[in-house]
């Protein structure tokens, strides 16, 4: 083989090799190590690892808390992602219009996304407090409620409360990204549609939605991954309670790994979470291709 041909075929690989090694070290090794840990059982003081095949996974099937966490995770992820997308889109459409103070409003809208999670959680816990919370006071004053609701203490309501507050946190991100996509749609298209007699619903359905489709896919993909893996918000808000009502896969993984020191079992739970995530990602991509 000529030197020039060799350089052409080998050199690109040599050039990307450091990057590949870096990725392998930071991503692939921990991934393999994490997944494989689910097939072992190890003494907590670091003794010999015993290969136990699918025992940890078999245990998961009879673990009612895991089943509950699985169900809660799906409800939580779907609800938060849908709410974020719908409200983010409404905000983006609103911010895409011309009005006074639009610049200021565009900046203010980012506040929930910018504030540290712990500050957001503490504020929401105060707002949702059954005794002192402003939400109950407002709803009681307005006559919407006849008696206050224990937003975080009632097992029937807690998941709903956490979903709403989590959606509040990331909606600005969705709004800003969709706003950028909306600004990429040419004005002339709307003007032409208007001349052709298209109504606002038709313009939205046939120009706006197709125009932001690609960006929407990315947004849905990112928010699904982030929401599915969200640990800090739920943990700080309710610790998975009351009565396991807000128990999700990330919180349950954490509990098993760091409260019960069942690292191998936790690895099995995390692997199931990873598979669920992969299914969701493939589903979103497929829908986009269709």
């Amino acid at each position: 083989m000529k030197a020039a041909t060799l350089r052409k075929t080998v050199l690109p690989y040599l050039l990307i090799a450091p990057g590949l090694l870096f990725v392998a070290f930071l991503l692939i090794y921990p991934l393999i190590s994490g997944v494989s840990a689910g097939f072992f059982l190890q003494n907590r003081l670091g003794g010999e690892r015993e290969f136990v095949w699918l025992n940890n996974y078999r245990q998961l099937l009879s673990d009612d808390i895991f089943v509950l966490a699985f169900k809660n995770t799906i409800i939580y992820t779907v609800a938060v992602v849908v709410l974020q997308y719908v409200f983010g889109l409404i905000l983006a459409l609103f911010l895409n219009e011309e009005f006074r103070g639009r610049g200021l409003f565009r900046s203010l809208i980012l506040v929930p996304w910018i504030v540290p999670t712990i500050a957001g959680v503490l504020s929401w816990r105060f707002i949702l407090s059954e005794q002192f919370g402003i939400l109950n006071v407002m709803l009681l004053e307005a006559g919407v409620l006849s008696q206050s609701i224990d937003w975080l203490g009632d097992p029937d309501v807690a998941l709903f409360s956490v979903i709403i507050t989590a959606a509040w946190k990331n909606t600005p991100f969705v709004a800003v990204v969709l706003l950028a996509a909306l600004q990429g749609i040419e004005r002339q298209m709307y003007e032409s549609a208007l001349i052709d007699g298209a109504g606002s619903v038709q313009r939205f359905a046939y120009i706006t939605l197709p125009g932001i489709k690609a960006v929407s896919t990315v947004v849905l993909l990112l928010t699904t991954i982030w929401t599915f893996n969200q640990f800090d918000f739920i943990y700080l808000m309710t610790k998975g309670g009351p009565a396991n009502a807000t128990q999700t896969i990330p919180v349950y993984t954490y509990l098993n790994a760091f409260s019960f020191l069942r690292f191998n079992y936790a690895a099995a739970i995390a692997t199931v979470g990873l598979l669920m995530m992969l299914i969701a990602v493939v589903f979103i991509y497929r829908r986009n291709e269709e």
């Binding site: 907590r44 003081l45 670091g46 808390i65 975080l152 309710t238 009565a243 760091f258």
Partner: protein
């Protein structure tokens, strides 16, 4: 010129390297003890720790004590990682339920082989509950807490009750609770959010005469199938649903929210941790309006949640003898105030010392502290059975919350808890 510069460089390097080697030689002579302490957020506590270390080092030239502060959130898992990789500190502070687990795993040296009998005799026997095994003790009691009873004297007076005569038993608790409950004000509250419910439910079980778990023939058995568990569960259920003196909303209240409700006058009586007393003392507007008292006793007698944290010398320590000397110094050496370093540490932390003589020191005689100090002899810690932690977080606390909200009846509660507890403690 060049050769002169080179000479200066060589000389500088020689000076630097000789310094490094000299300091290296000095370091080899220093015996270091690592003391892993949970805390580090209270300046007064930090000051006592620094002082005890400085004074011990002054008395023992060539010894260095390094305090490593860790938070409560990571103390358990961090120690696990350290032990697994052979990097455990010489002395470690742990909560008693963790101590019991690691004692069973052989992580500590038998401390009675290093600490004199005189020092061991200083402590209240209950301080060794979590660290007794094979006829040895594997740790020493450190700072302790009691989960106790608080009430609003002003609200008692308003309801026509004697403010100096708090309820002394379960029946009186209901009677007084009914008297002070009116409108938005509830008679009694206790934290039942997150992971706190069992801290307040366990005393009801104990006061009913139930031990939760019992060791029989080397294995643990759930005691939830005993009638006493049903009595306690029905009592708590009735406090909420029959008598209406405890609000269902306690399932969303942590210790702080419960304290705030007490401060606001929305709760006339509460069970809470003794650390709350220090915060309440800072509310000058409430001065004289509240007090602590012994927890009301149940049909099985008096019992409260209360235990000391524990100090251990680890099996991986290279200087267990020296670590023991440091501990003896801390527990026996008097400071200028006349208190030992240990007593001073407890006073500054707002905690209880688990020694026979702690009830006699001045701060323990304070009327607010006295109720806690008096209950130390019958205080109990969480069950020490392996697997209890898992039971507590996954089933017990959620179960208590469902009992309070009325989503689970007392019968179903005790049956479920019995089944789950037996599954998790290895039967």
């Amino acid at each position: 010129m060049k050769s002169r510069k080179a000479l200066i460089h060589i000389l500088s390097m020689l000076i630097v390297t000789s310094g490094v080697f000299a300091s290296g030689e000095q370091e080899e002579e220093v015996a270091r003890i690592y003391f892993q302490h949970i805390g580090g957020t209270m300046p007064a506590q930090e000051a006592v720790l620094e002082r005890m270390v400085e004074d011990f080092e002054a008395e023992n030239p060539g010894v260095e004590v390094v305090i490593v502060n860790v938070g409560w959130g990571e103390a358990y898992s961090q120690f696990q990682s350290q032990v697994a990789v052979g990097q455990a500190p010489d002395i470690v502070m742990l909560a008693p339920q963790w101590s019991a687990e690691y004692t069973a795993l052989g992580a500590f040296v038998p401390i009675d082989e290093y600490i004199s009998e005189d020092v061991l005799d200083m402590f209240l026997p209950s301080g060794f509950d979590s660290v007794r095994s094979d006829g040895h003790v594997y740790g020493l009691p450190w700072d302790g807490s009691i989960w106790g009873f608080f009430y609003r004297k002003d609200l008692f007076e308003e309801a026509g009750l004697n403010p100096d005569a708090p309820p002394t038993n379960w029946d009186e608790l209901v009677e007084y609770g009914r008297a002070v409950t009116s409108g938005d004000r509830y008679g009694l509250a206790f934290p039942a959010a997150g992971w706190e419910p069992d801290d307040y439910f366990l005393p009801f079980l104990w006061q009913a005469g139930n031990d939760v778990v019992a060791e029989q023939g080397g294995s643990w058995e759930s005691q939830f199938d005993e009638a006493s568990a049903r009595v306690a569960s029905e009592y708590v259920y009735d406090l909420v649903h029959e008598h209406g003196i405890v609000p269902e909303r306690v399932t969303g209240m942590d210790w702080e929210a419960t304290m705030n409700s007490f401060i606001a006058g929305d709760t006339a009586m509460m069970f809470n941790g003794m650390w709350v007393a220090n915060i309440l003392k800072d509310h000058e507007d409430l001065s004289g309006a509240w007090i602590t008292a012994k927890s009301p006793v149940g049909p099985g007698g008096g019992a409260v949640m209360g235990y000391p944290n524990v100090l251990h010398i680890t099996q991986q320590s290279e200087n267990p003898g020296l670590a023991a000397e440091f501990l003896e110094f801390v527990f026996t050496q008097a400071t200028d105030s006349g208190l030992t370093y240990y007593e001073l540490y407890c006073v500054e932390t707002g905690a209880l010392g688990w020694t026979q003589g702690f009830s006699e020191i001045e701060s323990a005689a304070d009327p607010i502290m006295k109720a806690f100090v008096d209950q130390v002899p019958y205080s109990r810690s969480r069950p020490l059975a392996s697997g209890y932690e898992q039971f507590r977080l996954l089933y017990f606390n959620p179960g208590i919350q469902l009992l309070i909200t009325g989503d689970m009846q007392p019968d179903e509660f005790v049956n479920t808890m019995h089944e789950r507890l037996n599954q998790l403690i290895g039967n």
